[in-house]
Symmetry: C2
Subunit: 742 residues, 2 copies
Amino acid sequence: MAEGSEAQAPMAFFIGEHLPAPGSALSFDMLDRAASDNYNMISAHITNINYQTKVQAIIEEARSNGRTRVYIPGLEVEDVNLHPDDLVASGKVIGVTSQWIELDSLDPLIASASRQVLHHEIGYAGFCGLGTLLIDGPKTAQQNLAGYCMSIVQGLAINAYLTINIMLPALGPSMALNQEDLDVSTQDSTQTPEVLYDELTSWDVWNAIRTSARYTSRLGLALKVEYSLPRTHTLKRWFSEPIRYLIIDSTAFLLNTKGYPVLTKPHQKLVTQFARKNPFYLLSNTRYAESVPENPADVEFPPLGSTVVTGGARQTVSVTPKRRDDPQSYRKYLHHHLLNLPPPPPLDSFGAGYQDYLQSPLQPLADNLESMTYEVFEKDPVKYNQYEKAVALALQDLHEQGIEDICVAVVGAGRGPLVTRCIRAATNASIDITIFAIEKNPNAYTHLMKMNRDVWGGAVTLVKTDMRKWEPPNTYVHILVSELLGSFADNELSPECLDGVQRVLHPTVGINIPQSYTAHYTPIMAPKIHGDLLSRATSSNSVDIYEVPYVVMLTAIDFLSQNNAGEPNIHQAWEFKHPVPADELEHDCGFNEHNQREAIAAFPIPRRGVIHGIAGYFECVLYENVDGTAIVELSTRPDTIDAKSKDMISWFAIYFPLRAPMSVPDDSEAQVSFWRHTDGRKVWYDWMVETYSFVLSSPEGSLISSPLTLPSEKSTTSGYARKRVPIAVSEICSSKKNGCLM
Amino acid sequence: MAEGSEAQAPMAFFIGEHLPAPGSALSFDMLDRAASDNYNMISAHITNINYQTKVQAIIEEARSNGRTRVYIPGLEVEDVNLHPDDLVASGKVIGVTSQWIELDSLDPLIASASRQVLHHEIGYAGFCGLGTLLIDGPKTAQQNLAGYCMSIVQGLAINAYLTINIMLPALGPSMALNQEDLDVSTQDSTQTPEVLYDELTSWDVWNAIRTSARYTSRLGLALKVEYSLPRTHTLKRWFSEPIRYLIIDSTAFLLNTKGYPVLTKPHQKLVTQFARKNPFYLLSNTRYAESVPENPADVEFPPLGSTVVTGGARQTVSVTPKRRDDPQSYRKYLHHHLLNLPPPPPLDSFGAGYQDYLQSPLQPLADNLESMTYEVFEKDPVKYNQYEKAVALALQDLHEQGIEDICVAVVGAGRGPLVTRCIRAATNASIDITIFAIEKNPNAYTHLMKMNRDVWGGAVTLVKTDMRKWEPPNTYVHILVSELLGSFADNELSPECLDGVQRVLHPTVGINIPQSYTAHYTPIMAPKIHGDLLSRATSSNSVDIYEVPYVVMLTAIDFLSQNNAGEPNIHQAWEFKHPVPADELEHDCGFNEHNQREAIAAFPIPRRGVIHGIAGYFECVLYENVDGTAIVELSTRPDTIDAKSKDMISWFAIYFPLRAPMSVPDDSEAQVSFWRHTDGRKVWYDWMVETYSFVLSSPEGSLISSPLTLPSEKSTTSGYARKRVPIAVSEICSSKKNGCLM
């Protein structure tokens, strides 16, 4: 690929140069060089080595005088790299705060001095007009994490327009190697017990910081990637978080057989996945940072032929090639990779802009938003095909049973897409049908008249009425087709609507399409959505924002309950079947009690995390034929959609929020209860989460110890019984106040 | 004690008869009999055996027809024991809902039918005008607890004036024996893993119920006490909860040597402790409930001479005495015990009505509430005695150093109590002093003039000024006496005030009284306070109620961090000493930074619970003499107040709330950080809680398992390292918006 074409290509991504050393003052020259090197932005330290020297001298002096507090003066002109000039106004500069400070020191002198440095830098950055800062994460996970958090929370209050991004390594344990002590440090390592380091340790730190700051959207992540990558489940966890920048170190690259730097397959996958969410990359050329070597071969590379930590690519070259990794080669590679990304899957393009966007509470009657998207939904490449297949199967079954004069009714016909498919199915099967289209919306009815005149050749009998009041003329309906499902199957009152029209269905051979549908659910981590709700809670709302489910394209989430293969554990809540047995309708005392449902399911959670809410999906059998040889289904479950209705885009998931996030440890369990309530006038849901951990109880019942085994080494000590211990419960959450009127 | 005197004694307690069986309709006869038996109230089932029979038949019929839902009709006249008549209007009747229902059944048919029964009963009880209901707890802790919670939460919504009390056994594991299955039950015991039963299991159930109902004050506990009592730590836990009724079963009694029923020492202690909080007792005479035996000796008693579960009394009588335990004897004994209770400790009488009452945020300037209680505080039997002792010691030290013309100044003299004590100390020591009283409040100053004229004989020089502006005439002050401490020591800005007046103190021999003070803290469970805050949060407040500490007489709390002796672990946060070293004041850059403080401490938590907030206390050295042979102190720490200033009542504790309660497991740790911030204009606190559990890591680092040993059996597997794993963190809580202006 020619160098020229890079710059002209439509830029959906931004690669910046991350300058890891304070160096000298930022200049237009540097920015010019970066631009001429095809970088889109540059990160630069706000202050320089002068300031560091000055502050460290102040600390030293205070310490030698036995003082434990010190006042750090503000920035002088020779201390800073940036000024409020055109350079900053270009928007291409990202500020980096001092990395030599130690906000999480247990020494009050160091911690307080570090905090003052940070706050001076934040204040000055805001003054200069910078919009984005990068701040180094805590030096370790085990010292004074609370002190770090407090410094960041105070920092966020200094300038309301700055976005702060915490730099953290993607792979947890490397934090321990990251430690850079101020030489004046007097840490007392005996004060706090040793922290267990594992892959999620870095995430633990992030989780603490953003929780301490109440999930503000002004706080993001700048995730640092080196050669060693965490395993898939840890990467999934990171992608549920607000990663605003991916900082790729030059040490993350290998050399290919020609001596050019390349990324391993797992790194490529990471970059690709990130590109779908947020296109800001920073390249940190640590091999060349301090002094550009005369000969690139002097720089130490990871051994060629070494195995990458996870998955795919293994470099097996054992002969050292001629090195061609000049500083620019890393950016060129990344540019090349990003320009050659495959197109995103259909749902991604369709849902662009809808990711994690909470839509208004559902009501059975379509609101404006749904009207706007209605046209889009009719273009769903899958849904109506499935309906047509289902109708064809049903017609065939009825035909084979010798039924003549088959009557088909589409109830809630809308703009008529199902009518079209019914006619097509009958035509293709050469079966004559009588067809009705029932619609209560007068505007849609007008459009149905147009369709009947222009498209269906007057073959359809149109009826403008609520389906529950429809009286068909002298006949039973053989196939009753509807599309009343919501994101949680029954949440737009499909059961109640179909109950009301069931009397028109042929009592022995009548078929409902869909025949049955099921609601499904699983607890999830959804920090972005939780932060969104928190920000809404502060404004004055008449509706309790936690007492209502939301339709949402779940994107920045993590499935907390997973099986060993990393697939989400999703449980079926309940099922509705149509037609409803006659005696069930008969026994209903007018309180719609036969449409009540309840569900309780335990979700094992292998790795610690935070439950923010419950994700809901549905599955639906449109039709299974009489001899059971064919079945047509729909699914929105992420683990079954590909098998049942791949690329279907008509439904987003549903999200049931929790007011207070619930932290769960490794090897725990969430028991989630759901109820579909109805009192004959409206329908609503209640939900509740109980969390449990496990202990081992000896046969004598005396000694009790808990196994917390790594997933691969799970075992049970013989004779010991695994027992459940409660951790916490949520409140009973309820959408009663926002229930659907029948 | 004669029977007659009982009825005439002032009744600070109410003993009711708890009727455990549905029996027949409640009548005036029963109430009359109860009244004539000296009961103050009676508990009675709302519905009777007719209703039970009817409902069970409906369930049976539904089940035999294969239906999983059933509609339970409302109450008919022959189903109920109560009517909206004078009997109920007397206020002496407590309703009991059906105990044969199973709200926590996993069988939807049973659970739903049970819920309908409960809700019919609640509705009817409200209609009749009952104010209080008793509802049986879940049948077990391991089935469908969420279903139970949901039924209660829905029940609370039926009538906004009813108070619901959940009946739960004080001793957890006995729940397992409590199970009464509906004979139609089809529980699937394999569905959920076995729950670990321990002493806190019953509390776990309560914690789940009240959390699910968002801590509403309309939900309370009716704690059932039998012969076996839980250990002290579990009883302490219960007493942090809203126990509204103590239900004492007749089986809780032993026979004394004369054959009369008596309570063991631990039972007596429980009854006494309860009497200080809420005086409603119910006696459940299960020995006589179903049919009164002809001969009381036929009723099985716990073996005489058996050992009670905890502590004290052990009955060693081995010869069976003549039984004298007729049904009335239990009530008579309880009456007798309650009438002969010892008087409560001083703080209890002083604080009556203040228990867990959250007082307005503190400001250094006294508000009306503090003015009203000021007079009371001057009557503190301890505080001013301690000040007098301290002044006497200081005078003696100065005198022995040969200082003549000793000058004493009381800064912030208020109404003059400290002036009186200074004069008395000098008179007793026969040391002449010059004494100043500095006060800026003009109203208090007028009162000081009266004191000087009428009491002090004009011996005091009064100065109306802010102490920070006072210029003494031609002299240094040798002893500077102040009472500026708040509940968290420095929270009413004592350090800042004393800094401002330090220049008048003699530079070499000057003494401050107090000389030093320290703030102390520990995480606590405080469900009542949390519920109070939750109820305030729903009304529209301009102040964030979680961003401010409260002065409160902490009563319904449990110390989560305890040592093996059950004493609370309380950590010192920081110390202030006066006078401040001159160079420290000198180096302050005007931002008051020398009065900044920070604290971080880890609190081991042996038993699971919920952290609602942080309790704060203070200790203070008024004066320690030069040779260290005498020290005069004040303390509000519950574990040191008796040693340092027993019966001091001037200060309640301080409470720093958490917005979201944090659940902690057995054998965990809370790390609590505190900061005292100041910017030279105001002073505020930040606080944050991190929770941790522990795992054992093998020497190879591969296998990781967590010890969760019972406190008495704590041990470490050899070679394994105990490491900390994060559970959760709070937000950074801050009182900045409500900080104290300097």
